[in-house]
């Protein structure tokens, strides 16, 4: 009997994190959830166990506490086959424009922390010769927009990091997936005006993550429509783009 595959989800309490964990557990992975508040993850762990009869581990992980990353990775009972990073912080653009602390927090939560932790796992995976890393970035990183460029620029940095890491790691048998979900109906987007046909539910993202892991996809736009939308947005000349109010 081959041993079961294992995955760890960083940011396991988010809606997309829960959905990714469910999709992976359903496909037979033993899943670990990592987040700041381990007690808050307990109901989700119970859910995964009851639904899919899998082992579920819980780990404390704070994406801002980069100094603890090496110890965190070392403390895991085993190096997983798959690491999925969902962590991120939307923040409030308007506050970030004048409040440097808030801007810093957005940048660190979306770029610095996720990049460093996936980079660290990448080293371990390369030493082992296999593994899959999934980074959930955002279409917001495809071009900085007036309405959310602090968040967008951090996601842009994360996307660039993943792209470079993929190029390097693929030679060592390690696969890197970049996921750009677009609008997802989640806690994070509550109260935001989302455009119906461009919006998906969290489970759709979870399934897309699983499928990208299994099929070794490089970059996933969860809804194909977004690929087109972002292609247009990326190719608009700057002179036109800067006049758009979005």
């Amino acid at each position: 009997m081959t041993s079961r595959k294992s995955a760890i989800v960083l940011g396991g309490s988010s809606d997309i994190g829960r959905a990714a964990a469910r999709a992976l557990a359903k496909a037979g992975y033993d899943v670990a959830l990592a987040g700041r508040d381990v007690a808050a993850l307990e109901p989700d762990a119970a859910d995964l166990r009851a639904r899919y009869n899998v082992d579920v581990g819980l780990h404390k992980f704070d994406v801002l506490d980069t100094a603890s990353f090496e110890a965190f990775v070392d403390s895991l009972p085993a190096l997983p086959d798959v690491v999925v990073s969902i962590v991120g912080l939307l923040g409030v653009q308007q506050n970030a424009e004048s409040d440097l602390a808030h801007a810093t927090m957005i940048m660190r939560s979306n770029y610095e922390g996720p990049s460093l932790i996936l980079g660290l796992f990448a080293e371990r995976f390369l030493a082992r010769g296999n593994g899959t890393l999934v980074g959930v970035s955002s279409v917001a990183g495809d071009r900085g927009r007036a309405s959310n460029y602090v968040y967008g620029s951090a996601k842009a940095g994360f996307s660039a990091f993943l792209s470079g890491l993929r190029a390097r790691a693929s030679r060592g048998g390690v696969h890197v997936v970049t996921v750009k979900p677009g609008f997802v109906r989640t806690k994070m987007t509550e109260g935001m005006k989302l455009i119906g046909p461009l919006t998906v539910e969290a489970p759709v993202v979870g399934d897309a993550i699983l499928s990208a892991v299994e099929k070794k996809t490089d970059v996933v736009y969860v809804s194909g429509k977004w690929r087109l939308v972002m292609l247009i947005i990326r190719t608009l000349p700057e002179a036109v783009f800067k006049k758009l109010k979005f």
Partner: protein
Amino acid sequence: MTLVSGWGRFPVVDSDVLRPRSFAAVGEAVSGGTVARGNGRAYGDAAIGTVRTVAMTAFDRVRSFDPATGRIRLEAGTLLSDLIETFGPRGFLPFVVPGTRFVSVGGAIAADVHGKNHHGEGGFGRYVDSILLRTGQGEVIEASREQNSDAFFATIGGMGLTGVILEATMRLRPAETGWIRERVISASDLDAAMRALEASDSATYSVAWIDCVARGRDLGRSLIYLGEHAQTDELAEGAAAFPAGKDPGLSVPIDLPSMTLNRYSIRAFNELYYRRGARRAGGSRVVSLYPYFFPLDSLKDWNRIYGKRGFLQHQCVIPQPNARDVLGDILERVARRGDASFLAVLKKLGQGDGILSFPLPGYTLALDFPVKGDILNFLDEIDRLVVAAGGRLYLAKDARQSRATFAAGYPALQRFNAIRKSLDPAGNIRSKLSQRLFDEV
């Protein structure tokens, strides 16, 4: 404020929609004029609070599952579609499913929904052992047949009016496969249809699709669908024990102009449907549970085919002794109008379990009508026949019955109101439906 409606998209009204993420937040959300909402599949105004509507679908965690007994504890926002996909492959299905799988456990309890097995196995509430209820007064209580039993039996079929169901413990049915052995019987008129349903009491599942535009000799002609859970050895060579549940592929992207459904298109559709079914009649075949239980789920947003003004479902139940004559009378009037759509269902029901549960031993007839012309007057006319026969209308489908019709159909209303009052003396829990039919004015 947000514009909210039920599945029938009539009426459309203002209510604040909140989506709490913790039970504590549910508690904070409940104040004067609140009701819980599951997946919004009730047709009318049941899941709309007079001031505030508490959306529950974020609560979809399973707490525990015992594969030895099929007993499951879960949060009330969990959808039946989710349960089927998750536990079907493990050999368990819900005991009772309505005609769509996109309903929440909370909604299924609150409406005590009936499935194609109600005549033999009862409704959804029969398989619920206990519920965690957040009452209008602010208490969180566990209610079961033994403990807080008044609250328990008032909540089953109570349309959300006893409080917010947070969690439930229920039993799932062991099912070797996700396939159903289906047998189709064609009945050339109403008598034949009712005879066939009477003769099928021992079938686990039975339901009749009834052609409600056929008149004269053909009045009440039907196709009766019987079903049994298929065993593994009945499956086609190589078939998986559990069929893949496809997401609805097709969807209705826009509101169709209300012209699309007219007496000619409906008549043509029904003729074709009946003939095709009649050709298949007699034999049996093994079909996936999805098309058997949820034929309409394959067309997403099908409620939009009725156009912007929405539609009404009229679902009544007529007690056994009068059923034949009264249903004949109703069908005659409906056929004369010719605008009831093709989604008409006739089914035999047994006893309901909750104080306000809809089912009673007899026959239920469900008809869809587009909202237009004098339809409201016409349905009042039908209601008089239902009331005279000692029947009642299903609250989960209702958007327009009168207080008098409701009170006549539900003699246990007083008892229900007394329990509701004890759980919620200040009257915090109020829906548009309760305002229309229950609450003191």
